[in-house]
Every structure is written in structure tokens, then in C-alpha cells.
Amino acid sequence: MSAALPGGRFEDEMDLALHLLDRQVQDAEGALVGKVDDVELTRAADGALVVSGLLLGANALLPRLWRRGHELWVAAAPQRPGQHVPDRIDLALVERLDSGVRLRTRRAGSAPPARALDPERLRLALLLGSPVTYEGEPAGRVIDVRARPEGERGLVVRELVVGRGGPGSMLGYDRKADMGPWAIATVVRLLHRGSWVVDIGQCAIDWTHGSVAARGPRRPLSQDRERRDSRGPGKRVQPGED
């Protein structure tokens, strides 16, 4: 796959939960397609996780709202091929990411059902929120996943952010040095003062049970602030009135 990588935020290191997940997807004309309900990760030959597509629809969102309930639902309902498969947008169709995802094409036909279940294709939702043990001791949960663009390989997952609370509960205050209001920023930073970042190479991820075992060097989250200024919301496109 050698199509140009998407632009906008995809050109730098990004946090998948904070910057990509739950974002609005718009087609080339500005019509609203859906929200990024989940992100598809593909395991490359060397074991690295690469962002390969966006997953949309109730089948992608419901497991994130209540995993156990969704599992029971899937087990209880009659099994038809493709029944519990979410809709998928290939990353090649994405033009850029600013405050939302902009596609290269029009809405129609951009999100067909995902291909059949494939052990090499994994979901971000399985990783986010997983309990993490650091050198044997429980140490929080995965609250975000950092990915970097690496040329031909695409967007590769490089680091895990671990801490207390749910994914995205830092509300973006960790990445911007002086985002107001002061009171909320302080409360969020206090709640997350024990959060840390670890390279994914040092983690053993159990995808079946949704747990992660980490070891080796790690660094506190508070050292990471965004180096570049914010890009702002990006160019707007709205469908014309008929």
C-alpha cells in the first residue's frame, strides 16, 4: 500500500484516543459520515502495530460502551456471517485529520462492512483500558496509544500511555502546556500525576484477555508537551443547501 499518508495531524506523532478516536468523519463535500467508533490496527510482519483503517457503526461502538454486554449479545444472537462486523473505512481513503477526519471521496460507498475476522487485524478498543502490570505489579490502565508516521510503513504504534482513569480522561491537558481554565487543568494534572509512558517494544500484550505486561525503562507523562503549536480546526467544508 503506497498511497500517500493522510495529512494534517497524521504527519506527526499523535495520540490515537485523544486525536483520532470518536472524531467526526466528513466526506470530501463536508457531508457527515459518522464518528470514528474504533481504530483498526494491523500487525505487520515484524510484529509492529500499524493503523490500517477506521471502524464505524454500532458494532464498533457498543463493545466500547459495555464490553461484557456486547459479548453476551454476540453469543446469544443467531450467528450470521458478517452480522457483528463493523463498517470500515480504509486509511487510504482518508485525506487529512484536523479536528475531524476528512475523506478523499464522497460518502456513498466509503464505509463497507469490514473484511472477515482476521487474527492479524486488531482493534484499538481491545487495547485501551486494559489493565497494565509493570514488572509484575499492577500499575494502572492503558489510557492512550502513541503512533508515529514512519514513511512507507504508515502510522506505527510506538508507545503506550498508562495511568489511572479511563482513556482520554486527561481531556487533552497533558499535551498543551497552558490550556485553561486553570482550575480544571490543575485538577486533571493532579489526578494524572502518576501516569507514565512506555515503549511498546517493552510490553507483552495479551489480546485475548486484554491485559498488558510492561517492564524496563519508562518516563513520566508530565515531561511530554506538544512541541508544535496547535494547527487549529482546519479548513471547513459544508454541503450546499438544496
Binding site: 470518536d22 472524531r23 467526526q24 468523519v25 457531508a31 457527515l32 459520515v33 459518522g34 464518528k35 467508533d37 464505524l56 461502538l61 466500547r64 460502551l65 484536523d98 479536528s99 475531524g100 479511563g166 482513556p167 482520554g168 480522561s169 481531556l171 487533552g172 498543551k176 490550556m179 485553561g180 481554565p181 486553570w182 482550575a183 480544571i184 503549536d229 496547535s230 494547527r231 487549529g232 480546526p233 471547513r236 459544508q238 454541503p239 443547501e241 438544496d242
Partner: protein
């Protein structure tokens, strides 16, 4: 010149569209029982709504995204779902109350029973939401809502002791016969009525509907900082006229007719006719706004296409939700429940839902990813944080107060 008219239209529409059935009923009730002693709460509520409406309008203008759209992005799908359930529930309750309000107003002028009006009103609301242009709905109903200025005129005409009224407001005089718990309950209710959650969500979605850009920030701010406070003055006029005419007789307000009696005393039949026109316009306009808000919230959580700025065929889920809630609202009203009671309940639950609404707006208006360079200034953030605390207090106190006072007995 054309720009001047556009700005003037925006301001006038903001004034006329500010008052809804919650404001009408709660202000009249409070005026009749407490005089203007709780007026400071109205002022507090108006400042609050101006603050947060400007924030959500700014988000809509700069990012092209409506505020509720961004709640799920910032808070995650689970909290976003909680927010959705709370917002949709409270706004739907308000929607029912507004449709009931239109029916009650029409009953006042025709003597035809309110229940007979409900199906027609619901049908009219749905048709407008389906077919009419967004700006047409807003402008026509907003301008007609200016009829409620008759309350200010009536108050003037009644020639009250202004010094006495001002004294009541400033010193927060509580009538001896009322308890502090009831006073607090009505304070929370007034606060909820002034800062109803749907208003900010609707304001920002409306900004996207009307295709605001960063160039429209000035006009938007004029609408908010001139239009909303003047609308708040109308609320105070309703309370004041009730205080002057009804309080001395010990008349408690629990019908829409009683709300109009002060105008009758001051200005006679013409005044009543204009007041009822104002009732119909304000409640009908608010019915459209609350209906649209429920649709906006649902579609913006799920990510589906929403809005009247595209053809209905392009926003099927959105319009289906609108149809379903209109049918449901009509169904609830046809059980004979009193719309005034629904209004009173919706106002209290609006107070409960306030933190869910305003916390995300405060965070999002600070995020350069959405508003670029137009992030909140220090003063805005300070006021926003203060209001967040106030809102939390009101939200936590609302239901206990409702139980303890038996809904304000």
C-alpha cells in the same frame, strides 16, 4: 446598511426568542410569591447563559462544529452517552411543556380545550421542522416573540413604587410567610429556567446551520451580549408585573391565564391579545428549538448527518428522531397531564443537568484544536470556573429541595 439590518435582526430575534414556557411560568410564580426578592437569581442566570452561549457560538463559528458534537470527542463515549441521555431527556421534557404551552395559549383566546389543540400544534411543529427553512423559523417566531415587551409596558403602566421594587431585589427580602427552603427551591428553578441546557446546544448547532465563520464572531457576540440580557429584562418584567398585581391579593400562579392578568389590569383587552400572541410565538419558537435540539443531540453523538442545512433525504436519522419525539410528546400531552406541571418538573431537572452541559463547553472553548487562536481569555475562564461551581451547587441541591418543599408548596 444591510449589515446593520442583519445585526438588528439578530438582536431582536435573540430578545424575542429568549423567553420560553419555563421562563414565563417560573417568573410569574416567583413574582407572585416573593415579589422581586429572587430577581438577583435571574440576573445571575442571564449572565451565565451569555457567558456560555458566547463560548459555544465561538466554537461553532471557528470550527464549524456544534458543541454537543464535541462532547463525545472530549469526554469519551460513555460519559458522552450519559450526557446524551440527560440532555435528551430534559430537552424532551421541555419539548412536551412547550407544545403544551402553545395549546394552553390557544385555549386562552379560543376557549377550545387545550387537549383538542395538542394534535394540531404537534403537527404544525413537525411540519415546520421538516419543511421550513431554519432562518425563517428563527426570524419569524423570534420577532413575533417581541410581543412579550407588553409585560414591560404593563409594568410601566401600573406605576409601581420603583424604589420598593428595587429594595426588594437588592436586599433579597423574603416574605415572612415563606420558608428559606422554598426560597432556595425557587431560586434553583429560576436558575434552571434561565440557563436551560438546550439553549447553548441549540445556539451552536444553529450557528452551523447558518454557516457562521470567524467573521461572524462580532455579530454573534452582539446577539448574545445585547439580545440575551434584554430578553432577561423581559423575564424580570413578567416577575415584576406579577409582583405588583398578584402578590397583594395572595394569588399564586399555576395557570397561563393568571400570568396574563397583570397585563389585563394595566392595558386591557389589547394588552391581553398582544400578550397571548407573545405566549404563542415564544412557546412555538421554543418548541421548534427544543425539538431540533433533541434531534441534534442524538445525531451529533452518533455522528450521523444532521441539520436543516441539507435536504431531509440526506439526514434521515435526524428527521426520524424529530418525527418520533413529536408523536411521543403529543401522546404524553393527550394523557391529560397539566403542561404547567411538566414545565415545573422540566425546569428543576434542567438545573440538575446543567453541569453535564456546561463543563464540556468550558473545556472545548479553551482548546486551540477547535477554536484556533480564539481561546478563552483569563476573565472568561475565571467567570466560567465560578459558574461551574454555582452550577454544581444548584444541580446537587435541586432534587433534595424539590422533595423537601414538595415542589415549592
Amino acid at each position: 446598511m444591510k449589515r446593520f439590518f442583519a445585526v438588528a435582526l439578530g438582536i431582536l430575534t435573540a430578545i424575542g426568542g429568549f423567553v420560553d414556557i419555563g421562563d414565563l411560568v417560573t417568573n410569574a410564580q416567583v413574582g407572585a410569591r416573593f415579589g422581586l426578592a429572587i430577581a438577583p437569581v435571574v440576573v445571575l442566570g442571564v449572565i451565565g447563559i451569555c457567558l456560555f452561549a458566547e463560548m459555544s457560538g465561538r466554537v461553532a463559528a471557528v470550527s464549524g462544529r456544534a458543541t454537543f458534537d464535541l462532547v463525545r470527542e472530549r469526554l469519551g463515549p460513555r460519559i458522552g452517552l450519559l450526557n446524551l441521555a440527560g440532555s435528551m431527556g430534559v430537552t424532551f421534557l421541555t419539548f412536551i411543556a412547550e407544545i403544551g404551552g402553545v395549546a394552553l395559549s390557544l385555549q386562552l383566546v379560543t376557549s377550545v380545550h387545550e387537549l383538542l389543540w395538542v394534535p394540531f400544534v404537534a403537527l404544525a411543529v413537525w411540519l415546520l421542522l421538516w419543511r421550513a427553512k431554519f432562518s425563517a423559523i428563527e426570524n419569524v417566531l423570534g420577532l413575533l416573540g417581541l410581543s412579550l415587551i407588553v409585560f414591560a409596558v404593563a409594568l410601566w403602566q401600573l406605576g409601581p413604587d420603583w424604589g420598593e421594587l428595587a429594595h426588594q431585589a437588592v436586599t433579597v427580602d423574603k416574605p415572612a410567610s415563606e420558608s428559606w427552603a422554598t426560597w432556595c427551591y425557587y431560586g434553583v428553578a429560576l436558575f434552571g429556567a434561565a440557563m436551560t441546557p438546550y439553549e447553548v446546544f441549540f445556539f451552536s448547532s444553529g450557528g452551523v446551520e447558518e454557516r457562521w465563520t470567524a467573521k461572524d464572531l462580532g455579530v454573534m457576540r452582539a446577539n448574545v451580549f445585547i439580545g440575551f440580557p434584554l430578553g432577561g429584562l423581559l423575564s424580570l418584567a413578567i416577575a415584576g408585573s406579577a409582583a405588583v398585581v398578584l402578590q397583594p391579593h395572595g394569588i399564586a400562579v399555576d395557570t397561563l391565564g393568571e400570568t396574563a392578568l397583570p397585563v389585563a389590569e394595566a392595558l386591557g383587552k389589547i394588552g391581553v391579545a398582544i400578550a397571548v400572541l407573545g405566549f404563542v410565538a415564544a412557546t412555538f419558537g421554543a418548541a421548534c428549538e427544543t425539538g431540533l435540539s433533541v434531534g441534534y443531540s442524538f445525531a451529533q453523538y452518533v455522528g450521523e448527518q444532521w441539520g436543516k442545512y441539507v435536504r431531509p433525504q440526506a439526514a434521515v436519522a435526524f428527521h426520524t428522531v424529530l418525527l418520533l419525539i413529536t408523536l411521543a410528546a403529543a401522546g404524553v400531552l393527550l394523557t391529560g397531564v397539566d403542561p404547567i406541571v411538566v414545565t415545573e418538573v422540566s425546569v428543576v431537572f434542567s438545573a440538575v443537568a446543567l453541569p453535564l452541559t456546561y463543563f464540556p463547553i468550558l473545556v472545548i472553548a479553551n482548546d486551540p484544536d477547535y477554536v484556533g487562536e480564539h481561546v478563552n481569555g483569563r476573565l472568561t475562564n475565571l467567570l466560567g470556573t465560578v459558574y461551574l461551581v454555582l452550577i454544581l451547587v444548584a444541580a446537587v441541591a435541586a432534587i433534595p429541595l424539590m422533595v423537601v418543599t414538595g415542589m415549592g408548596q
